[in-house]
């Protein structure tokens, strides 16, 4: 056993390293130092803990660490960048499950002698942990497209959600009164698991950036809760930082869609199938051309803005987009990328994909930075983005996305939209007015193939 004060000092150093890591993460230049310092903080924390509590059941502990470590490392090395949202969702699931299970172990070890305050925090922590676990699994399944990305809505959804969540809370209150009731603890855990599924299954794919951020926050809060239960200050600090990070990202995502938390979580958004796209295509005169016709238009432009969306990730078209940028720049065309805050399936998704394709990050412009440039831009190319360029958001009060800030692609002199096939609606199921805008021409086909053809034609020109 090492002196308690030494352990505490190491914990303080860890907490400082974690805090600094977030500070260093604020810009690209220092970000890797941030990640490194957090990793050192983690190693120190683990060493201090082992020094403090010894190694009971150490064979089992080592086996658990090795299994987890191999699995985590394999996932980190093999995962393609387009699958980062899924990996993030599954890692929230692991984090939350770890916190919930430790809470459960702590309960079964100490029951029935648990004081009121500890039992309250323990219940909240376990509820949050279990619901985040199943919620994140569902988010993972949706992102991996193992289940439908559309919100799954059924009769009496709100009543059922209310009853399940209410049941979990009621069990928690009864447990606080009588911390010896193990059955009640199991009921509380089971209801929380069910609630996580109910909550996320009703949310559409387009809302995943917000959902992932909220789950991130919950996983952090649940770790902080464990800190209270075990009276461990390092856990409180790390959990609080994680919790606030998820919260800020969730708020930013909601603002970028002009929606509230409640609306994202309980709105069943994206379930709306308003008009028949096939009919509109005729009535609304949607123009289209092939890539060979589009290429010269790009070559002779002075400025081009590329707007990527989730479709770029699906088609793995990030490298092709970089080639397009290069070939146009060779012709003296000014090229930038416009990144909407909710483009893709998690905060910062597009930035990571384009960075992977070696697009210099100064070319990735945020919405506020680039929105005034569209009216002076010759050609805008929309690659698999939909709602984030839909002008309906600015004027059509009946539209579900009314009020959402959009990239003002419609102000450009010409808009080229790459879309998989004619007809059909975007992921959110909302008609996009930009399709039949007077300056828009569609190019149908797989985003990667279309862009590769563009590049080939531009080079031959």
């Amino acid at each position: 056993m090492i002196a308690e004060s030494l352990i505490q000092i190491i914990y303080i150093i860890s907490a400082i390293l974690f805090t600094l890591s977030i500070k260093w993460m604020s810009e690209v230049k220092t970000s890797r130092r941030g990640n490194f310092s957090a990793a050192i903080g983690m190693i120190l924390a683990v060493i201090a803990t082992i020094l403090a509590v010894g190694t009971n059941h150490y064979e089992l502990t080592i086996v658990a660490v090795v299994i987890g470590g191999i699995f985590g490392a394999a996932m980190a090395m093999k995962m393609p960048m387009t699958a980062i949202p899924q990996r993030t969702a599954i890692s929230h699931a692991f984090g939350a499950l770890a916190a919930a299970l430790v809470g459960a172990a702590e309960f079964f070890y100490n029951t029935p002698s648990i004081d009121t305050f500890t039992m309250s925090i323990l219940s909240i922590e376990v509820i949050l942990g279990f619901l985040t676990f199943t919620g994140s699994i569902v988010a993972f399944l949706k992102l991996q497209e193992l289940i439908s990305g559309r919100p799954i809505i059924y009769p009496a959804r709100k009543t059922i959600s209310f009853l399940v969540f209410g049941g979990a809370l009621l069990s928690a209150i009864l447990l606080i009164i009588n911390p010896g009731n193990q059955t009640l603890f199991l009921i509380m855990g089971a209801l929380s698991l069910v609630f996580g599924v109910i909550l996320v299954i009703a949310i559409g794919g387009a809302d995943m950036p917000t959902v992932i951020a909220i789950l991130n926050s919950f996983a952090g809060l649940s770790a902080a809760g464990l800190g209270f239960v075990l009276n461990n200050k390092l856990l409180i600090v790390a959990g609080a930082i994680d919790g606030s990070s998820g919260l800020i990202l969730a708020i930013l995502m909601c603002k970028a869609m002009n929606r509230s938390f409640t609306n994202v979580l309980f709105g069943g958004f994206g379930n709306i199938q308003k008009s028949k796209a096939g009919k509109n295509a005729v009535e609304r005169n949607i123009k289209s051309m092939v890539a060979e016709e589009a290429a010269p238009l790009l070559s002779y432009a002075k400025s081009v803005i590329i707007i990527p969306g989730y479709g770029m990730a699906v088609a793995q078209a990030q490298h092709a987009s970089k080639d397009l940028m290069d070939s146009l720049e060779e012709k003296g065309v000014k090229v930038n990328f416009a990144i909407h805050p909710v483009a893709g399936r998690m905060p910062g998704h597009m930035n990571v994909l384009l960075a992977e394709a070696d697009v210099p990050y100064e070319k990735l412009k945020e919405m506020d930075e680039i929105n005034s440039d569209f009216k002076h831009t010759d050609v805008v190319i929309v690659v698999g983005a939909n709602d984030i360029v839909n002008p309906a958001a600015t004027h059509n009060r009946a539209s579900p996305i009314y009020g959402m800030p959009i990239l003002k692609a419609y102000e450009a002199k010409m808009i080229i939209m790459i879309k998989r096939s004619p007809g059909g609606l975007g992921f959110s199921g909302i008609d996009n007015e930009l399709f039949w805008h007077k300056n828009t021409t569609m190019v149908y086909g797989d985003a990667k193939e279309v862009i590769n053809k563009l590049v080939q034609n531009i080079k031959e020109n």
């Binding site: 604020s26 957090a38 983690m42 987890g68 009276n231 905060p347 990050y361």
Partner: protein, 100 residues
């Protein structure tokens, strides 16, 4: 038996409040460019729950509590190791000049 003294509770609440405020302040200044690696980093940091799992493992004395602690250690280790590795992989891709 868990017994938190009221002094502990007050200190812990204060630490939680201050750490949250500090977190909010720091994260506000993170560039949007880095939101994905930020999330994978904070996720890796929250795997400090492994500390809790190790503590509980040290006094776990029934098959149930030992199993719960072992699974928790495995889950947290997955995130700790995978989380820092993937954050590093993402950050390596961000280069100013776009060259390898």
């Amino acid at each position: 038996m868990i017994e938190s003294t009221s002094a502990d509770i007050i200190t812990n609440i204060m630490i939680f409040a201050l750490a949250s405020l500090l977190g909010l302040e720091l994260i506000k200044h993170v560039s949007r460019l880095l939101h994905t690696p930020l999330m994978s980093l904070t996720n890796a940091i929250s795997s400090v729950a492994i500390v809790a799992a190790l503590i509980v493992m040290s006094y776990a004395n029934t098959t149930l509590t030992i199993t719960l602690a072992a699974v928790a250690i495995a889950c947290a280790a997955t995130n700790a190791i995978g989380g820092f590795m993937i954050t590093e992989r993402i950050l390596k891709m961000f280069r100013k000049d776009g060259k390898k």
